[in-house]
Symmetry: C2
C-alpha cells in the first residue's frame, strides 16, 4: 500500500487543511488494524518533561491539554482513534443530537400529517439506517476540526491512532517509545454495560456505539432494555421514525438514580408524551432473555406483577447505562475504584495515586460533557500549581424525547421538603389544563400551540417565598436548553438570584421559557403566591 | 339579539372559565360595532381613588397594572379590544412567531426536498392564507388566558371593549362614566406608517396587522416596501412558503437606525442566507408608486443607481416601521412629543405633564416587549412611591429570517473602536469557511450540519482582552435566543462577566451556542488570542 496517509505520519511541521484532516482520518479509520500507523504531532525539540500526559483525547483530555498549554505547561495527549474529541462526535452526543433533531421533525410530520403543507405521513417510515449513514458520512468534519483546532489554535502535542500503555505514574509507552511526564491524566471513558441475560450477543442487539458502527438493516420493531437517558432519547427517535418501540425498564422512567432533581410534573408530561406518541413503556420490569435463532426475534421480561411476557422484535437496543473503563488502571497503577468501576477522585481530580488524575466518564456519573471538560481544566490547573476544586455533583441537566427537556436546581417536592414557604410559577398554571392554554410556547411549539395546544410544553419555576430566591427551573418544550446554563450560574453564585432580580431582566419575547416575565408579574408582591 | 354575551357585561362577581372567556371574546370581536357593550370587572365597593388608570391594556398596561396591584395600589385598565394583551397576541408578536416557525420548517422542507423522509417540495407552495386562518382560529386562547389571569391571579380591575377618553390628567371617561385617578398611564401603541407614495390604498397592500385581519386570497408574488425587522421576518416566511418575494429597502438590511449593535459578519450571514433562499433584495432603493387598476399589479421603485424599475406582484407588504399613536394625547393633555411622534418620557416614564406617564410603543423605539412590560412596571413603582429608573436604550435584540438571529452588547467593529485589545471567539473561526465546519450547531441545525454544513449558522463572542470582560455575543442559528436574556444580565451587572467566569460555567452540550466551552479553551491564557 502506498497511500499518502499510509503508515506512521509525523504532521508536526505540516499545517493540514480541514479537507486533508478529513481525508486522513477517513483513511485511518477505514484501514484500522491493517494500517495502525500513528499520527504524530510532537515538538521533539522541546526538551521539557511533559507536565502531563493525557491518556484519552476525548473532551476531558482535550480541554485539560488546552488549559495546560494556556498555562504554559507542556502536555501530550494520546488517543487510540485518529482524531481528538473522543466518543462524543464519533458515537455519542453528536449522533444523539442528530437523531433527536430528526425525532422532533418526524414528530411534527406525524401530528401534522395531511395538515397545512405537511404530506400524508400516516404509515410513512423514515429510514433509521439511512440517517445512520448520513451521520457516518459527515462525522469526519467534526473530527477534522478538533485535530485542526488542537494543533493550529491550541498548540497541543498529540499522538493519535495509537494505544498508550501506562507503565507507571510517570511513564507511558506508545508504539514502542516511552514518554516521561510529571503527571498522568486518565480519561478513557466508559462502555455500555450489557444486562446479564442470555442473548445479548445475538445479531440485532445494539447500543448507541454499535448502532452507528454496525447497523446494516432497517429495524421494524424495537425493544429497548433499560430506562437510561439514552433509552428515552433513542427510543423517541425510533418511534418517531415509524419503528414501534417498547421500553422495558426496572425503574420508572426519569426516576433512575443517575437523574437527580427531576420534577414529577415535568416527568409526567414527558413520559405521558412518549405514550401519547405510541411508545409502550413497562416500568418495574425485569429483562429475562433476548431470544432468536441467528438474530433477535423476541425479548422475554417479567412485568411489574411478576408475569413473564414476550415482545417480538427485530431490533434490541441496550439502554442500561455505562461502566467506566477502569480495570487496566486499577491493575497497573493501583488506583482506587468504587463499586461501579468508577475511579475515585477528589475535587482536584486526584486519584489515590500521587500524580495520577482521572476525569470524564472514567470517574462515574454524571457522564456529561461539562464534567469531562471541566475535569480536564481542573486537573490542568492543579498540575500547573493553581489549587482549584470542581464540584460536579450539582449541575443543570437535560434529555430529549421529541421535546427538549431541561432542568436545574430543586424539584417542587425537594423544595417543599427543605423550605417552609414555596411559591410555584408555572405554565399552564395549576388548575388549567394543557389543552386550555398553549403555554409555554415560542419557536418550535407555535404550530402545536395553534393546532394541538396540549403538545406545546410545560414549565415550572420553584421559588423560596421567604428569601425570594429561585430554587429550581424546569422546562419541556424547545429552545430553552441554552438558557439553563446561565440560570445554573445565576442560582449558584453567592446570594443566588431572586424573583425580583429575574423580573428586572430584559426578556426576548416570545422567549421559549417565560421565567423572566412571569417573575415580574409576582416580583412586586411582598408575600409571594403561586402563579 | 339575545346572545348571552350581548350588551354590557359586568363580570366582576363571575369567575369565567377559559372556554367562557374564549367564547365571550369571539362574540365581542365578531359583533364589534353592532354590539360594543363593554366587559366590566370593577370593584365598585372599593372606595379608594385609583392610583392609576392605564389607557391601553397591552403588555405595558397589563404589567403596570399587575405591579400596582402587587404594591397594594388600585388601578383600572381600559382597552378598546375585548381582551387584555394588546396587539401582541392579536396581530403582532404571536402571529409573527407562528409565521417564523413556519418559515423555519418550510425552509427545511425545501433544502431537504426528496432527501431522507422529506417529500418532494420543489414546486410546492404552502398556503399563507391558510396559516393566517389557523392563527385567527387560535388566537382567542391567548386572549382568554390574559383576561383570566389578570382577574383571577393578578386581581386587576378592567373595562374592555370600550373606548377611553382622557378628559384631563386625573379624569378618564368610558361609556359615559367618568373615573378619577391620581395618575394616568398612556400605552396605546403605534401604527404602521404607510410610505408617502401613490397606491397604498389599493387592494392587496398589507401591513402585519391588516395581513391577519383582511387577507382573503393566496398571494403569489410579493413586494415588500421597507427594510424593518418586520420586512425581514415576514419576507422570509412568504419566500419559504413559495411566494417569491422582493424587498425594496432604503437602507441596507439590518443597517437601519432602529437596529443597534448589529455585527457585520452576522449581518452578512443573515442577508446572504436570505438571497441564497431566492429572495431578491434591493438596498438603497426608493419606492415610487404602487400601481394597479383595482388591486396591486406592480411596484415602481428607483434603484441605487437612480434607475426606475418595475416589479410585477399581486401582494405588497409594508415594512417601513411604525409611528406612535400620540396625536390625541398631545392635543388633550399637551404631552410633549418628539420628531417621530413619540411621547417624550424620562427614565421614570414620566411625561412633561405631572401625573401622566407613557409607556410601550407610544414612547418610540425600540418597540419591543421587554420595554413595554418593564415600562409599565417602572411607572407603577414610581406611582407607588418607589423611585425607580429604567434605561431601555441597551438591550438584547433578535429577529427571525428562517434562522433565529440574536445579539447583545457590542459588535466587533464597535468594540475595536472603543477598546485597544479585542479577542474574537467565533464559529466557524476566521479563516475557515462555513462549508468546512458545520459549527455552531445543535438542535435545529444538526440536519444542515450533516448534509449542508454551510447552513448550520454563525456565532461570535467579542472579548476585551485587557479586562477579560465579554463585550458582545452574536448568534445565527436556532435555540440560543433564550440564553441571551441572561447573557445580557451577566454583561450588565457590576463587573460584567469575564471570559474566565464563562469558562467555569456548566454547559449543556450540545448547546446551540458554544460560548461557555470556547471561553474555557481560552480562559487559561494570560494573553487572550482569537479562537
Amino acid at each position: 500500500m502506498n497511500h499518502k496517509w499510509n503508515g506512521t505520519l509525523d504532521v508536526t511541521e505540516r499545517h493540514l487543511t480541514m479537507a486533508e484532516w478529513n481525508d486522513l482520518i477517513d483513511y485511518k479509520l477505514e484501514h484500522n488494524g491493517s494500517d495502525g500507523g500513528a499520527v504524530i504531532n510532537l515538538h521533539r525539540d522541546d526538551t521539557r518533561t511533559f507536565d502531563a500526559i493525557c491518556i484519552g483525547g476525548g473532551a476531558g483530555g482535550r480541554f485539560g491539554s488546552a488549559y495546560l498549554r494556556a498555562r504554559k505547561g507542556r502536555q501530550l495527549v494520546i488517543d487510540r482513534w485518529p482524531f481528538l474529541g473522543g466518543s462524543c462526535p464519533h458515537q455519542a452526543c453528536v449522533p444523539h443530537h442528530l437523531f433527536s433533531e430528526a425525532a422532533r421533525e418526524l414528530d411534527l410530520m406525524r401530528w401534522f400529517s395531511n395538515k397545512l403543507w405537511f404530506p400524508d405521513f400516516t404509515d410513512k417510515r423514515a429510514s433509521i439506517l439511512e440517517l445512520v449513514k448520513v451521520f457516518l458520512a459527515g462525522r469526519g468534519t467534526a473530527h477534522a476540526f478538533m485535530n485542526w483546532q488542537s494543533k493550529e489554535q491550541l498548540d497541543m502535542e498529540y499522538i493519535l491512532n495509537a494505544s498508550a500503555f501506562v507503565v507507571d505514574e510517570h511513564t507511558v509507552e506508545v508504539g514502542g517509545e516511552r514518554f516521561q511526564a510529571k503527571n498522568i491524566i486518565l480519561g478513557t471513558g466508559a462502555t455500555t454495560v450489557l444486562p446479564d441475560i442470555p442473548g445479548t450477543d445475538l445479531k440485532g442487539v445494539y447500543d448507541f456505539a454499535s448502532l452507528v458502527e454496525e447497523l446494516d438493516y432497517e429495524p421494524t420493531r424495537c425493544v429497548i432494555i433499560g430506562g437510561s437517558k439514552v433509552a428515552i432519547e433513542y427510543g423517541s427517535f425510533f418511534q418517531a421514525a415509524g419503528c414501534p418501540t417498547t421500553i422495558v425498564s426496572r425503574s420508572p422512567l426519569m426516576k433512575t438514580a443517575s437523574l437527580h432533581h427531576v420534577d414529577e410534573d415535568l416527568r409526567l408530561y414527558v413520559v405521558d408524551g412518549m405514550r401519547k406518541r405510541g411508545m409502550t413503556i413497562f416500568e418495574g420490569a425485569e429483562p429475562v432473555a433476548i431470544q432468536g435463532k441467528t438474530r433477535v426475534e423476541q425479548v422475554i421480561f417479567r412485568d411489574a406483577d411478576g408475569v413473564e411476557q414476550c415482545l417480538p422484535c427485530d431490533f434490541v437496543f441496550i439502554g442500561t447505562g455505562e461502566r467506566p473503563n477502569s480495570e487496566h488502571y486499577r491493575e497497573v497503577l493501583g488506583v482506587a475504584v468504587g463499586g461501579r468501576g468508577e475511579i475515585l477522585v477528589n475535587k482536584k481530580m486526584q486519584t489515590n495515586v500521587p500524580n495520577v488524575f482521572a476525569i470524564g466518564d472514567l470517574i462515574g456519573p454524571p457522564m456529561e460533557m461539562f464534567k469531562a471538560r471541566k475535569g480536564g481544566m481542573t486537573a490542568a490547573r492543579n498540575i500547573m500549581g493553581e489549587p482549584y476544586e470542581f464540584d460536579w455533583q450539582d449541575y443543570p441537566d437535560f434529555l430529549h424525547s421529541t421535546y427538549e427537556v431541561t432542568w436545574v436546581g430543586l424539584s417542587e417536592a425537594e423544595a417543599r421538603d427543605r423550605y417552609k414557604n414555596i411559591a410555584i410559577i408555572q405554565m399552564p398554571p395549576k388548575g388549567i389544563r394543557n389543552d386550555e392554554i398553549p403555554l409555554p410556547c415560542a419557536e418550535g411549539s407555535m404550530l402545536y400551540a395553534f393546532m394541538i395546544p396540549e403538545l406545546s410544553g410545560f414549565q415550572k419555576a420553584v421559588v423560596d417565598a421567604d428569601s425570594r430566591r429561585m430554587l429550581g427551573f424546569h422546562h419541556v418544550g424547545f429552545g430553552a436548553k441554552d438558557a439553563f446554563q446561565y440560570l445554573d450560574h445565576l442560582m449558584r453564585r453567592p446570594g443566588g438570584i431572586t424573583v425580583d432580580e429575574m423580573g428586572e431582566m430584559n426578556e426576548l419575547f416570545l422567549n421559549p421559557e417565560h421565567f423572566i416575565q412571569l417573575s415580574r408579574l409576582r416580583a412586586g408582591n411582598e408575600s409571594l403566591r403561586d402563579l
